[in-house]
Amino acid sequence: MPDPAVMTGCILAGVLYGLLGSFCMARNQALLGDVISHAAWPGLVLALGLTGSRHFGVLGVGAALVGFMALISLEYLGKGSTRIKPDTRLALVLSGFFAAGMLFTRQVQTSRPGSMGHLHSFLFGQTAALVWMDTAVMATVLIPTMILVWLRWRDLSALCFDPQWRQTTPHANGATPAILNGLLVIGIVAGLPVAGVVLVSALLVCLPVTARSLTNRFSSGILVAMGLGATLGALSPLVVMLTESIFRHWRGNDDARLPTGPVFVLLGVTCSGLSLGLKNMRQRKIQRMGRNHASC
């Protein structure tokens, strides 16, 4: 069995991404998570270079700060000029922030030798490096997020599905979109030790897509996405362990190391592919029945 810290961490990350991803998908911002997670990389590098700390609590603050900067620059690029289209904006911010992080890696490598290897576990996610500290960070992010979503449920769902209508209601709070974006950034950063910088966006998409094709209500969709995230999160370290041990016996190479992020993503994408296929089949069946009925 994997370490309990690893299991708890993966489950918490799954729940977190199911929750946040549902809001992302409902607001049609499927690729926003991609941008924020790539922008978190320079934050991690800078935090490591400035503090020399290896605690995720410290590194995560840097990552979240730079994530906010990416979000702000994305909004500013959109407001400043209408000539730059949304997809170009996303691509520019994503690669620009990542490149800015790579600019400093060599300096950090020379000033703090040996510490960059620790950061590499954040690229794809590595359960071997997961400790109770990381899990605690995830829990401290997840619990307030859930409470906030519970308290502001009506406003948040109005923001997702009918922002114009929301503006006309007396209870519309100007801070709600900012709060949602803030939760998104902090949540994405908190799950990085499990999912890794590159593959976070896939988790933010595949969990809600699966949930959406299984349910008809937003609230139950969120619960399904969170549950699915927890299940797949618990499964992925098991799959990683199993595959690694099989490879050790079968091919006899002891250094087969599998990162968790890709395994988690492959499980999730398989689920969403299956559920989308099922939904399509059901729709076709209904259409066929309708046609038969009409021809009678």
Binding site: N28, K85, A99, A100, M102, L199, C206, F247, V263, V269
Partner: protein, 374 residues
């Protein structure tokens, strides 16, 4: 033979030129993130190719990479059609899946494989001169320079040959379809060429930073130009400039050429974004200020003329009363009157302001113009 620094510079310029040209067309197709997606999905092909071929240096690996990129694009088109046109969702599902397959396959490979996952993501242009092209014991320079120039020539000749139909296809797809043009061979050829370019550039640039070289030169040109030919020309110039500045930054800063090239392309874009003569942020701000000042001047001129007609200019046309009645600061009124005076439309006479003959004509034109438009 060139020294190593110059070879790196050559590779940087060629990479950014090839990527910039490819990306400029993807911007016009509103698919700027396709480069990111393609770059990530190549990894599945590399992983599979490694397990099938058993080596990480075979040239066939390249064919595997291109094929998997094309397959991922096709699959994501199919998925987005199946779920009802949500393209970003399809991109977000298909490409990470391909990337994950690649990461899993490569990490399970034995250590002797020498495919470094970090290098896949971050690239390393400084190592480009290590792989040489040799012909009969003759050293012909870095291999990536040759392959990138080949892809550049292919892309440029593609744009050159299919110039007309490409423009039609990009700006008026419905019209092209209605005229009986068959679009898919053009799309497929373009996709194949971009997959080839990205998989060649990916060893030097990595999967993430290649995106800035793909998008930033095109976006720079998009801010600066208004016709397709000048757009392509400025894209190429911006790409070469980012290669040169990128290499230049590494002389002062201890950083990889990959990162500096990517960041300098972004810096060049930001310069264009703020300073572009017509569309830049500062130009638009300046135009706004100018337009506001013009309106204030016209309003004040009409005000003076109106009160002269009514005959109460002695009480209404002093600076203090105008400031009070129009709700503007006295300094603002004075500045506006001064600029009107410099155009010889008004003149001061014992404490009040009067319109000149020219000013009267202008004010009347203003009013009749606005009445006519009403």
């Amino acid at each position: 033979m060139l020294p190593v620094e110059w070879e790196v510079l050559l590779v940087a310029c060629l990479t950014s030129l090839a990527c910039g040209l490819t990306g400029s067309i993807s911007i016009l197709r509103r698919q700027a993130l396709l480069g990111d997606a393609l770059g990530h999905s190549l990894l599945a092909g590399i992983g599979i190719g490694f397990w099938v071929l058993g080596s990480s240096s075979s040239p066939w690996l390249f064919a595997f990479a291109v094929t998997s990129g094309m397959m991922a694009v096709g699959l994501s088109e199919w998925v987005s059609r199946a779920v009802g046109g949500n393209q970003s969702m399809a991109l977000g599902l298909v490409f990470p899946a391909f990337f994950s397959i690649g990461v899993v396959l490569i990490s399970l490979a034995p250590k002797s494989a020498h495919i470094d996952l970090d290098r896949v993501l971050t690239g390393n242009m400084d190592l480009a001169p290590l792989e040489r092209l040799q012909w009969r014991d003759m050293d012909l320079g870095p291999l990536s320079a040759w392959t990138l120039s080949c892809s550049l020539v292919l892309m440029a000749s593609f744009v050159w040959l299919f110039h007309r139909s490409l423009i039609w296809h990009l700006f008026d797809p419905q019209g092209a379809k209605a005229a009986g043009m068959v679009l898919w061979p053009l799309s497929l050829a373009w996709l194949l060429l971009s997959a080839v370019t990205i998989s060649l550039a990916f060893e030097t640039m990595g999967t993430v930073m290649v995106v800035s070289l793909l998008v930033a030169p095109g976006a720079t040109a998009w801010m600066l130009t208004r016709s397709i030919n000048s757009y392509l020309a400025v894209t190429c110039l911006a790409a070469i400039a980012s290669g040169l500045t990128g290499r230049g930054i590494t002389m002062f800063l201890d950083a990889s050429t990959t990162a500096t090239t990517a960041i300098s392309s972004i810096i060049i874009f930001l310069l264009a974004y703020f300073l572009a003569p017509r569309e830049g942020i500062f130009a638009r701000w300046r135009d706004g200020v100018k337009a506001r000042r013009e309106i204030e001047m016209r309003m004040l001129l009409v005000h003076l003329w109106h009160h002269e007609l009514l005959g109460d200019e002695s009480t209404e046309c002093s600076e203090a009363t105008m400031a009070q009645h129009l709700g503007l600061a006295t300094q603002k009124i004075r500045a506006t009157l001064n600029s009107l005076e410099s155009r010889k439309l008004v003149y001061p006479s014992d404490g009040i302001w009067k319109t000149t003959q020219q000013g009267k004509i202008k004010a009347r034109d203003q009013m009749s113009g606005s009445e006519a438009s009403r």
